[in-house]
């Protein structure tokens, strides 16, 4: 341990970014998105319950109304980032083979972008009604 400490440059120690070069950034962002996720999740559940069993026309109208659409967009964006960090953490914990790890990390990014962009697009389409 002490040998390793000596191998780090003074600048590296001061920066404190570690091997991933991003320090505790993801740790902090996971906390920020978890705090934001609490009220957004509660709001999301209320919206879903309010739309249970409603006609398609009503659902379109409610989901496309500004307040509801903004809340759902915030929910999707917040959770997309939260789950991207979370899945990356899981992958880094369990997948050690270089190539497999790289592919898993890429797949995580692709999946999160695809599924969240699809959901965001749908909300925007409902909002602007094109």
């Amino acid at each position: 341990m002490s040998e390793r400490a000596q191998m780090r440059t003074p600048l590296g120690r001061v920066r404190g970014l570690g091997a991933a070069h991003s320090g505790t950034g993801h740790f902090w962002h996971q906390r920020v998105t978890s705090v934001a996720g609490i009220p957004l999740t509660i709001a999301f559940i209320i919206i879903v319950i309010a739309l249970l069993g409603r006609s398609h026309a009503t659902v379109v109208q409610v989901l496309g109304s500004p307040l509801v659409a903004i809340v759902i967009l915030l929910f999707i964006i917040n959770m997309a980032y939260h789950m991207w960090i979370g899945m990356q953490e899981i992958i880094l914990d369990y997948v050690h083979a270089d190539l497999l790890k790289l592919m898993a990390l890429l797949a995580n990014t692709f999946y999160v972008f695809a599924v969240s962009l699809a959901a965001i697009y749908a909300v925007l389409k409902l909002s602007f009604g094109v």
Binding site: R31, S34, V35, G37, I38, T41, I45, I49, A50, L52, G53, H56, A57, V59, V60, L63, I72, I76, M79, A80, M83, G86, M87, I90, V115, S116, A118, A119, Y121, A122, V123, K125, L126
Partner: protein, 140 residues
Amino acid sequence: MAELEAGTPARSRRPLSPHLQIYTPMLTMMMSIAHRVTGAALYLGMLLLAWWLIAAATGPNAYGYVEWFMGSLIGRLILFGYTWALMHHLLGGVRHLIWDTLHGFEPAEREMLALGTLVGSIALTVVIWAIGYLAMGGPR
């Protein structure tokens, strides 16, 4: 560096630190595992949300199909599991936020928080579904 690379085969022969299978299952440990499992489940659950929104944006037929699936027995089971996973992960997250303030690490507090996460998540799930059925005007 060369020494490090040459040492790679030897590395695999080093003893590993004990992992999950050596420990007696404890509530705090099970809730920690559940937090990760529910997180991964919700990761896939985002597909359901996207499907619902895309169907609503597509038209009445697509939306009707989602409604039919979500209303089926399998659909309801998935949604019930989704609700529980969401509540468990949310309460587990609150538990982590409490720990982040350096509170709740005493043995009794840890047990209380773990038990609270489990009981709270089940209770909230049941309450949400009760409200959901009431909002729909009774079970269908």
